[in-house]
């Protein structure tokens, strides 16, 4: 209609098949005719759109490659800084191992080397500081141990020396007022015993100080028991009967201080028996590589409370009641032995256990002796 109306132009429309076409039209001058041409839109712009997409793709690809390249370059630049940061954090956390130094030849390499030097210095300082702290701690522990030891000795001495002095003073008074020779002798004997107790106390303290360093060797346990029995009989003013039942000859790893163990136990028996006659039964047996020496007396026994204190709280107990059991325990510890208090109906039973030397005992040697003496001190 536009063509026949003499117009010239172009329109974007659709053909009979629905395809988008561009159509141009113009009148043929001097006639009623017009010319109309058309071409499919796809034919005109399809290739252009293809190129556009290709360019767009290339642009995106270029951007990605550029970004990766930039990231890579920046990462390379930042890595030493990151490594230094991590290294500094490690040092702050107490790890002074050297970091890897980048061989970049630039300031980063120098800085990393400086960091390593600083870490080495810190490592040395820290090690030295730790050593100093450990040494101070050791010295403090040593001082505390020495303080407690001094306190222990002071308490024990206050108790034991106080008692020894009191006993001596008592006998001295009685000696001064004695009217016959028998009484005088009795009190002189009492004073002698007090002096011996004082000597024994000094020996006990010495033993406590040296026992850890004493040499232990093959030692005749049977003879040690026999010597201790003789000694307690000579020492005590009570009649002491000892029934000795040693199943065989025992050799143990010990030394002369073992005599003191048995003497202390026997002395304890003799002291805490109110009766005139002290009866002590001693029996040996081997069990699990130990020689167990059972020492049973006819005394007043040990209360459950005291037994608990002897076994679990001996140091505190010793401050109050003297060092007899404490010394016994320390000597036995040196010989890898121990003592226990058995539950018995009457009296007290103490069991001393000491490791037996293999092959050191002669079996089937049965000794049963009864020591009956009525010795008075002096």
């Amino acid at each position: 209609m536009q063509v026949t109306g003499g117009e010239t132009g172009a329109v974007l429309t659709e053909d009979s098949q629905g395809e988008t076409i561009i159509s141009g039209f113009a009148p043929v001058p001097g006639t009623d005719w017009g010319v109309i041409t058309y071409e499919r839109w796809e034919n005109i712009f399809g290739s252009i759109r293809g190129y556009s997409n290709l360019l767009l793709g290339l642009l995106v690809l270029g951007s990605i490659i550029s970004s990766a390249l930039i990231f890579f370059v920046i990462s390379r630049i930042l890595r030493p800084i990151h490594d230094l940061t991590m290294g500094a954090q490690r040092i702050a956390g107490g790890d002074f191992d050297p970091m890897i130094v980048p061989q970049s030849g630039d300031e980063m390499q120098t800085l990393a080397q400086q960091f390593n030097t600083m870490a080495d210095t810190l490592k040395e300082h820290t090690a030295s500081l730790k050593k100093e702290i450990a040494e101070r701690k050791r010295l403090e522990d040593q001082r505390e141990k020495a303080r407690k030891e001094a306190e222990f000795y002071a308490d024990v001495l206050a108790h034991d020396v106080g008692n020894i002095n009191q006993i001596t003073m008592g006998y001295l008074y009685l000696l001064q007022t004695a009217k016959d020779e028998k009484t005088r002798k009795k009190n002189v004997d009492g004073i002698k015993k007090s002096i011996m107790n004082s000597k024994r106390l000094a020996e006990s303290i010495k033993i406590l100080k040296i026992i850890k360093d004493t040499k232990i060797e093959k030692f005749d346990l049977n003879k040690s028991i026999e010597r201790s029995i003789e000694e307690i009989k000579a020492y005590s003013n009570k009649e002491i009967e000892v029934n000795l039942d040693m199943d065989k000859k025992y050799y143990v790893k010990a030394n002369d201080f073992l005599d003191r163990v048995f003497f202390n136990i026997l002395e304890n028996s003799a002291e805490f028996i109110f009766k005139e006659k002290v009866i002590i039964d001693i029996k040996t047996e081997e069990k699990d590589g130990f020689c167990n020496v059972h020492i049973h007396d006819n005394g007043i026994g040990i209360s459950k409370e005291k037994k608990k204190d002897i076994l679990e709280n001996l140091e505190t107990l010793s401050k109050r009641t003297g060092m007899g059991f404490y010394l016994t325990k320390k000597i036995l510890e040196r010989f890898n032995g121990k003592f226990e208090i058995e539950d018995v109906k009457k009296g007290t039973e103490i069991v001393v256990s000491i490791p037996v030397i293999n092959g050191g005992s002669v079996r089937n040697v049965h000794a049963q002796r009864s020591h009956k003496r009525n010795e008075r001190r002096g």
Binding site: I167, M169, G190, E271, S303, K319, T321
Partner: protein, 116 residues
């Protein structure tokens, strides 16, 4: 005058020494080896005087004295200890006297005369 006296001390020889000595003066003396057994004896018998050591197993002299005074506040307790640091506490607690070990046996008789 004959008195009933309980001596509590953890040293057997001191107990027997004091006992023998005081019995010469006509006193009836019982002995106990620690605070607990002393307390048990005190529950069963009326004593005119308790002679009390300080350092003992279990109850010390102060604790044992407090237990005794709880039973009978009129009980006379005479402390006999080598530890002078407990003198004030002992006297504040109610002890009638304090003998510092070692003392002469004559002192114990003089103290008994003085306080009972």
């Amino acid at each position: 005058m004959s008195l009933r006296i309980l001596i509590i001390d953890d040293e057997m020889e001191i107990l027997t020494l004091f006992k023998d000595f005081m019995e010469v003066f006509g006193h009836k003396v019982e002995i106990a080896i620690d605070g607990q057994s002393g307390l048990e004896k005190f529950k069963n018998t009326n004593f005119d005087l308790d002679i009390m050591d300080y350092r003992m197993h279990g109850r010390d002299g102060i604790q044992a004295s407090k237990d005794i005074l709880n039973i009978d506040k009129n009980t006379k307790i005479l402390f006999a200890s080598a530890d002078s640091s407990v003198k004030k506490e002992a006297l504040n607690m109610g002890a009638v006297g304090f003998l510092l070990k070692p003392f002469d046996l004559g002192d114990i008789i003089n103290s008994v005369k003085k306080h009972v």
